[in-house]
Subunit: 96 residues, 2 copies
């Protein structure tokens, strides 16, 4: 099982719309990549370097690659501007 | 629900014993803080800045604070040297 974590560093002067992220953007990403709500967790930072994050579970690296190769991924990336100007950190891991 | 993520940045010249982490250290932390295996996920980095991580779920910030205030926490921290010299990044978030 693979975890893709998208981590948004807290950045002075940059905002993050948590409601839009949870209610609009992450559902768009899930629909685009064939994931369900059970495959995703959205975090709102309380303490530490990240203001927000999402953790997405894929069955394998191959499944993740296939899912993200769809045309709709461009729309997901374009949607980011609707909730933040922060560039996220991407971490791919195997859940052991 | 609260997530405590302990993220180990990949560091030149520093090693990380994934087996010890998964089989010894994380179970010690779970026993010390009253968590079960269902409350924890251990990640092995595949791509991105972190070589390893653990994600621990607590019912609340208060529960996390109470759990980590036990005397055994010192032993958990001392155990880190048995698997790495890397200083982790700690992120506390609310799972929304």
């Amino acid at each position: 099982m693979i975890r893709l974590s998208v981590l948004y560093p807290t950045t002075d002067g940059a905002e993050f719309d948590h409601d839009y992220y949870r209610d609009q953007h992450v559902p768009l990403a899930l629909r685009t990549w064939g994931l369900t709500e059970a495959d995703a967790e959205v975090d709102r930072g309380v303490d530490g370097p990240y203001v927000a994050a999402v953790h997405l579970r894929f069955p394998s690296l191959e499944a993740m690659g296939t899912a993200m190769a769809v045309d709709g991924t461009a729309a997901v990336l374009a949607d980011v501007a609707n909730y933040t100007s922060i560039t996220p950190v991407l971490q791919t891991s195997e859940i052991v």
